[in-house]
Subunit: 331 residues, 2 copies
């Protein structure tokens, strides 16, 4: 049975959402869950819940990394944070995976430092699943590595390919390089070099893609540096929020348009179900020697529960061994 | 009276949209319009329209730059394209401004080469007005300069400040640097250096902003490199299209949701009017020695008409002299 550690203190709604999600996961799935955090806080939170079976555990971690804290200072000063202790459990193989909705920079830095990279991998990256008109596309990297070399982006393509095969059930995922034009000669030196590596590989590389192709479902895996990926991700999140805000404002203007709002809600609910990001719960930090799922800071209990499920699947699918096999083959 | 040249052969709907827009501008506004392009093609197109007064002219240009053509090859091989001839009219001061919905890369390269930069300006950039929850924000650069130095971004902030003052009527526009976090220490070396230049300037710099702040209307001018700006712009365009596509699909599923679509149309029409991008018609290429407005490849006649109006305003507001004054002051 898989044993998954979850950061009980991480995220905007911690400890509430993290503990609630952990309890739901332990009750619903065939796995053990270890909540990492301040023991008294977690115990108090757990009293609100009904826990069945003996599948839920607490691992004490006295310190808490704040959401806005500098990752470098968090690593230096808080060696006993829920993030550090959770990742240590993973390093010692006391657990198979670690889930956190906490400070993303601190999770990435701690994991890189304490676990190191998988053999052959130069730098880890975060791969996020994005709803498109048709199912999901993967974007990698969305913030772990803001100044990558061509080799890093090439390895992100290899890791994305594997993740899309196992998680999105694509047989031979298409790979696109996010650029400002389709021609091979477009973009920065980084992208021109990466293009050559991808073109000469065995991956199903379809060439450069543009910002407008992200939602069309044209490509299964979108490769970019962590700076561009992070900006794009936040733009997309904010557009969703802005659209809802503008719709609400406009739809509330009079009775007729208010009725439109009700109809719209019905119309969109089925698409929302198909593409609800909280169904996946989080994004894997691929390339480190251990399974880590990073959830959104605003993760709900449902998102945490599903992130724990996703973590268990990453272990079952042996994503990391497949990555090592593929990287070793390339060298 | 201002005299504006418009590229009659540029854009996905050329010559139809360009000529139609030029005719409307000449009829409606107090300015002269010179359509640049293949004389027989433009003349044939003009026969469909009723032109009043003597305010519309044709300047023959035998060659056409294709939308997908490499800018470098277009400049080398097509010295008599509508883009080259239009920019030459501007250089010789036969016209006050040039408008094109053609190959953006070719317009930027031709303008840089033939007109050069304004005194003190190192590199030109494209500044686009983006609808937000409250009015417009400016994003600069969205594609002219994909590998800028800190000084370039700093000058983009100075130019954006001026443009936002005159075009968006902001008294003291706020300036934000697009980054992956708000702290001064965030981001690439380029951004850390640019941050210092902006912090120590007299501009109304509010610090780093994130992708999620673009639509909130939190900041009047958003400064970024042309690669990130271009990707973000295309992501935004595609989300608008995807949303409409998904809404149409979902709303057509049954009679009830189809009615929702009708209500929604009513609700959104007022916001659309406020923030319709075709009201501005195009984005200025700021920093070159001449007024140039770049329209979207898919520009309609209405967009071209309004781009011509915007070009006239850029001349009337003396945007370029204000830029030179400001840059000279800084040095």
């Amino acid at each position: 049975m898989n044993r998954i550690a979850v950061d009980g203190m991480g995220g905007d709604f911690a400890p509430y959402a993290a503990v609630d999600g952990a309890v739901q996961a332990a009750n619903d799935f065939n796995l053990e869950v270890v909540i990492v955090g301040q023991e008294n806080v977690i115990k108090r939170e757990l009293q609100k819940h009904k826990v069945t079976g003996g599948k839920l555990f607490i691992q004490h971690a006295p310190e808490v990394v704040d959401m806005g804290e500098s990752p470098v200072s968090a690593i230096k000063k808080k060696k006993n944070s829920s993030i550090a202790v959770g990742i240590d459990l993973l390093k010692q193989r006391d657990v198979n995976a670690f889930v956190s909705a906490g400070n993303t920079g601190a999770v990435v830095a701690s994991a890189s430092l304490r676990l190191g990279c998988l053999p052959g991998i130069k730098r880890p990256g975060i791969a996020i699943s994005m709803p498109t008109v048709h199912g999901f596309s993967l974007i990698m990297d969305v913030g772990a590595n803001i100044d990558p070399r061509p080799e890093h982006l090439f390895q992100y393509a290899i890791m994305s390919d594997i993740y899309a095969r196992y998680f999105h059930k694509k047989k031979r995922p298409t790979i696109g390089l996010l650029n400002i034009g389709e021609e091979e000669s477009k973009g920065t030196e980084l992208l021109k070099e990466t293009y050559k590596l991808l073109r000469d590989s065995e991956l199903n590389f379809i060439g450069n893609i543009e910002g407008r192709d992200i939602f069309s479902g044209k490509v299964d895996c979108i490769i970019c540096d962590g700076f561009v990926g992070n900006v794009v991700l936040k733009v997309i999140e904010s557009i969703a929020e802005t659209t809802i805000q503008v719709l609400k404002r406009e739809l509330n203007k009079n009775l007729i348009t208010r009725m439109g709002g009700l109809f719209l809600k019905v119309a969109l609910s089925s698409w929302k179900k198909e593409t609800d990001a909280s169904e996946l719960g989080g994004a894997p930090l691929l390339g480190v020697d251990g399974a880590i799922i990073i959830s959104h800071g605003g993760a709900t209990a449902k998102a945490i529960k599903n992130a724990i499920k996703t973590a268990g699947q990453a272990v079952d699918y042996e994503v990391n061994s497949h990555i090592v096999d593929e990287i070793t083959k390339k060298e």
